[in-house]
């Protein structure tokens, strides 16, 4: 590890420590101090670590990103924001890692339901936060979690009490407005027994108030950590779309603890960033159900890594996982999917699938399913493919008058769209589809095809 980097960050930390939320809470001060220490020792993860072997983050180490101490001045174009803000949702907006009350929409929350910024939660419900912060993941996981724990400036706190079924989704919108900054946010989502909720997390690239558009060529760092607690027989769907700017670095980790019979579904759309890594790690209890879906699109020199870990700890749990990647130019996609079936987890039913389409000779997909099975009566399967489009399908379309290039585009788009179609919230579906269309490696893609 580059200790020089850690030292440089440690110095910066002293400068803004007092501005971080919850600094009057001794337990949090201790936690942050420990995290900072852990980060100073480990630094960012190295490719020598098994779970980081395909992803080298030294480019992040070489830069020194600065935390934003407060909400930036200057307004955000409301029109622009609208294209990312869902209607009929509770929306919490974080700009450079700081809560913007002005841009957020948190009216009409049902009584006893908490949807607020992490800073507010630390002030109003410190005990709840203390109980859950660092429980679903620990700084020992890797350097990014430690980094996040030491630095987080704000985030989203959600608590849905037992039996409460939310009729609207909760949307968390991350916006970064400046180059070279780091946005370090921490979320906690608690869904109690029998409750149901949908939470959407969206990361969008640098927004420039002057030019009213996304400035694609600014580098910044997102390091977001979400801890999720799904109670007994509760149901949570989490959507994530990262459409960061072209030169951004993104780390986003979701760490989920599912209770008995709890259902958790994750949809992961990874489109942006020069280097982007997602962790989705879930611990399953007795008869929990866990579904992980993912779509990554890479072009130019993008490196997009998705790391999933499903821990079957108890019997009868079911996990289903499908990740798809489309990679063009010199882009590299990484999929590491670990499924661990503990000795007690008999009758586990687990399926994992990763499919990649390579559109150029220089694109690369590294796919590594890892099944570690310690129980003896289980049903576990996995399949991976890395390949080109099916020639038979191309010919079929051509034989109907479609030119070859369009046929290829249609098939590629249809391949990716299968994951978009799993989104059951209309507004979000359309938003993600728009992003797929603008981010698609190939020109001339048309949503009428679907």
């Amino acid at each position: 590890m580059n200790t020089a980097t850690a030292t440089r960050y440690a110095v910066k930390y002293q400068a803004i420590a007092s501005a971080l939320p919850g600094q009057t809470l001794p337990w949090l001060q201790t936690l942050r101090a420990e995290a900072l220490m852990a980060f100073s020792e480990s630094g960012f993860p190295s490719p020598r670590e098994e779970e980081w072997r395909y992803t080298n983050v030294s480019a992040i180490e070489k830069k020194l990103f600065s935390p934003s101490i407060s909400l930036p001045a200057g307004s955000i174009d409301a029109q622009w924001l609208k294209s990312y803000q869902l209607q009929d949702a509770w929306v919490l907006v974080l700009v450079n890692g700081h809560f913007s009350a002005e841009l957020s929409v948190l009216d009409d929350l049902p009584e006893a339901v908490s949807v607020m910024s992490m800073a507010e939660a630390l002030a109003k419900q410190p005990d709840q936060v203390q109980k859950h912060l660092g429980l679903a993941t620990a700084q020992s996981e890797h350097g990014f979690v430690a980094f996040n724990t030491a630095w987080f400036t704000d985030g989203l706190f959600v608590h849905v009490p037992a039996k409460q079924v939310l009729d609207r989704p909760i949307q968390l919108l991350h916006i970064v407005t400046d180059a070279d900054i780091m946005s370090t946010t921490r979320n906690i989502i608690i869904v109690d027994e029998m409750a149901e909720a949908k939470v959407i997390e969206i990361f969008i690239g640098v927004y420039s108030a002057t030019s009213s558009e996304i400035v694609a060529d600014n580098a910044y760092l997102t390091a977001a950590v979400t801890e999720v607690y799904v109670g007994q027989n509760a149901d949570l769907t989490l959507y994530k779309m990262q459409s960061e700017s072209e030169k951004a670095y993104h780390f986003g980790g979701s760490y989920i603890k599912q209770a008995r019979d709890a259902r958790f579904t994750h949809h992961n759309f990874a489109f942006g960033g020069l280097l982007a890594r997602s962790d989705i790690h879930a611990d399953l209890d007795h008869a929990s159900e866990c579904e992980l879906n993912g779509l990554y699109l890479g072009s130019k020199r993008q490196h997009i890594d998705n790391h999933t870990r499903i821990n079957h700890l108890k019997p009868y749990a079911v996990s289903r996982e499908v990740y798809k990647g489309v990679l063009d130019d010199r882009a590299r996609g990484v999929f590491q999917g670990r499924v661990i079936v503990a000795i007690d987890a008999q009758q586990t039913d687990s399926q994992m699938n990763n499919r990649n389409l390579l559109l150029s000779d220089d694109a690369e997909a590294d796919t590594k399913p890892q099944l570690e099975i310690y129980a003896d009566d289980v049903k576990c399967g996995h399949g991976v493919t890395v390949g080109q489009l099916d020639e038979k399908s191309i010919f079929y379309l051509q034989s109907r008058g479609i030119d070859e290039e369009t046929a290829r585009n249609m098939l590629t788009f249809a391949f990716a769209n299968e994951m978009v179609d799993k989104i059951k919230i209309k507004g979000l579906h359309d938003m993600v589809l728009e992003q797929v269309l603008t981010r698609f490696p190939q020109e001339g893609v048309n949503k009428e095809w679907l």
Binding site: E391, K392, Y396, L397, Q398, A414
Partner: protein, 251 residues
């Protein structure tokens, strides 16, 4: 319409078609029968431009043009249609979109404007009705999860909408029960005209009870070993392919 002369075709350096000669005039229906592996699908594929076949000799002239020079999509736009023996499933692309894109590609090729949305819907619904299909099939992904019979019907639906000039049907009748066969035959018969020709590959005389061919050819081991009228199909059904092959050997 189509003139095939001494056509020889290799697949992976193995000769599959060993000199095919076939003259098809506008309005004619030609049935091609023959044992498994004799090259029927190979001939259909070569005519529609599938990759992986090497033409080593001979020619295929379609409406005065060199067919073998054209890309598959140009052949389609020029009016050649292949109803596949094994239609391909295309997950994620809707049936109705493919129909529209196909129709517009042909119209554009012929310097016609894009089809009007309402006219298109009317046309499609009419043909869906003709083939006694459920309209729901239109909004499903192309052939995805269709039964064998449904896929074959979908091929004929496309054919009915695109109104090609040369219809090549590769075993469209295989896997159809008698009711479905009658419906498909009716669809095909409704397309018959003095300008439109058909090449029907089949194993079964039964299809020819419903669509009466002008000529029947027997393809065996890459060659047309016998040609005749509809009565040849009956004779074949009775005596089997061995009979023509034996005759061929004797000659």
């Amino acid at each position: 319409m189509l003139s095939i002369k001494d056509l020889t075709v290799n697949v992976n350096d193995k000769q599959i078609l060993k000199g095919i000669n076939l003259e098809i005039k506008p309005g004619e229906i030609h049935a091609i029968m023959g044992p498994n592996g004799s090259g029927k699908s190979t001939l259909s594929h070569v005519l529609s431009g599938k990759a992986g076949y090497t033409v080593t000799g001979g020619s295929a002239t379609y409406q005065g043009k060199d067919l073998l020079e054209m890309s598959p999509e140009i052949r389609a736009r020029e009016g050649v249609f292949l109803a596949f023996q094994y239609p391909v499933e295309i997950p994620g692309v809707s049936n109705i979109y493919l129909l529209k894109a196909a129709l517009n590609s042909i119209r554009k090729h012929n310097d016609q404007p894009e089809v009007d949305a309402m006219d298109f819907l009317t046309l499609v619904k009419e043909k869906v009705c003709l083939l006694e299909m459920d309209e729901k099939f239109l909004y499903r992904a192309v052939n995805e999860g269709f039964s064998g019979g449904e896929k074959k019907r979908n091929e004929i639906l496309q054919m009915a909408i695109l109104e090609p000039k040369l219809c090549i049907m590769d075993e469209t009748d295989s896997g159809l029960d008698i009711d479905a066969l009658k419906i498909v035959a009716e669809g095909v018969n409704s397309l018959r005209s003095a300008e439109r020709s058909f090449v029907m590959v089949t194993h079964y005389q039964r299809l020819l009870d419903y669509i009466k061919p002008d000529f029947v050819h027997v393809l065996a081991q890459g060659r047309i070993v016998k040609s005749g009228g509809p009565e040849l199909a009956l004779e074949l059904e009775e005596k089997g392919y061995g009979w023509v092959e034996d005759n061929q050997a004797a000659a």
